[in-house]
């Protein structure tokens, strides 16, 4: 392995003026910057047309937007595990008991209840694979301003990935989810995983 003088590394990192390099080090600097310049030409091709054709195809295949099921149907609530009894009691007092008797999800659906503790947050919403990661579809509520945000939605039975979006900008994996999966973008970030049973 060729060892490059640290001063050359500093110059290549923009931490040193290359003009201050001793003459015997300038060749390595010039060789590497020259190599980078030679690699800088973009291939004379474009994929724009084929990508846009695929996107238009995706758009044609996509179902027409419809109102979310949870707005149209009566729902029952089933609390998933929460991290303290106090929170469970508080949430149940607010949303669980009053709605339980009046809601019935379909045979292949279940109710997902979301609870998060975000003191001081101005808004908390849930985005996930069940709403195409679109914001604005499922906002959580904190009526008594105690920092406990909650909401529920009827979802098809199965596995769903989701995240909380706090104050419209901070994406947070539900610390209480218990299950997580890699978000697939290679940066080691994880989505929370929700399993809905009918």
């Amino acid at each position: 392995m060729t060892v490059i003088d640290p001063r050359v590394q500093e110059a290549l990192d923009g931490e040193r003026d290359p003009a201050t390099l001793p003459p015997e080090l300038r060749e390595d600097y010039a060789r590497l910057t020259g190599a980078a310049a030679l690699l800088g030409a973009a291939p004379a091709t474009s994929v724009a047309d084929r990508v846009m054709a695929q996107i238009r195809e995706i758009r044609r295949e996509a179902p027409a937007p419809r109102p979310p099921n949870w707005l149209l149907r009566p729902v029952t609530f089933r609390l998933r595990p929460v991290w303290t009894l106090a929170v469970a009691a508080a949430v149940a007092a607010v949303v669980f008991l009053p709605l339980r008797e009046s809601a019935t999800p379909g045979a292949e659906e279940g109710v997902a209840q979301f609870v998060g503790h975000f003191p001081g947050a101005r808004s908390v919403e849930v985005v996930g694979s069940f709403n195409d990661w679109q914001r604005g579809a499922l906002a959580l509520r904190d009526e008594d301003n105690d920092g406990i945000w909650h909401g529920a939605v009827v979802l098809p039975a199965g596995q769903h990935e989701y995240m909380f979006v706090v104050d419209g900008e901070r994406w947070v994996a539900d610390p209480l989810a218990g299950r997580y999966v890699d978000d697939g973008f290679g940066a080691g970030q994880q989505n929370a995983l929700l399993i809905v049973r009918p």
């Binding site: 190599a35 990508v51 846009m52 195409d132």
Partner: protein
């Protein structure tokens, strides 16, 4: 622009493509050593990006996000085949040993640098290309690769050394 696409204007994604496509194609070509493979990787990446655009958590970092997806796609391609398997038929023959770098034609210089780059391990190749060809900051590189900045600095330093050695051996 991201918001426009998310609001249903799919054609606006064409503007995103035009803005970032040259860099993504160059990055993929340098990673894969083949313009055709790079075009496939970038096309697949852009379609994936469109499908998951709502998951781009910070539109301000759209560029890094697109490079990350493309980098992942390139690594998948590399995983399926080794760089040594890539035909370099388009490259001119190696220069005669008596030639010097200065007298090589530009196309020969490009071919030699591409050969030297192809000898680097994928991680080092990626680090050199992102830093010196794409001009990303270490912060942006961390967004793209998921690696920590000190790790990336070390990777870039090692990549420079390996590339310099490969160039000296080739010329």
């Amino acid at each position: 622009m991201v918001a426009q696409v998310l609001d249903g204007d799919a054609e606006a994604f064409g503007i995103i493509i035009r803005r970032y496509e040259p860099g993504l194609l160059r990055f993929a070509a340098r990673m894969l050593g083949s313009a055709d493979a790079a075009a496939d990787a970038v096309a697949e990446s852009l379609v994936r990006a469109y499908r998951h655009l709502a998951q781009c958590r910070d539109p301000e970092h759209l560029k890094s996000w697109l490079y990350r997806i493309t980098g992942n796609r390139c690594r998948s391609h590399i995983g399926r085949r080794h760089m040594s398997d890539i035909a370099l038929d388009d490259a001119p023959p190696l220069a005669d040993p008596v030639d010097t770098w200065a007298v090589l034609e530009r196309s020969e210089q490009v071919a030699l640098v591409e050969r030297a780059l192809a000898q680097l391990q994928p991680e080092k190749r990626e680090a050199f290309v992102l830093k010196h060809v794409e001009g990303l900051s270490y912060e942006e590189m961390a967004d793209v690769t998921g690696a920590r900045i000190p790790t990336l600095k070390m990777r870039v330093h090692r990549a420079r050394e390996a590339l310099l050695l490969a160039l000296k051996e080739l010329v």
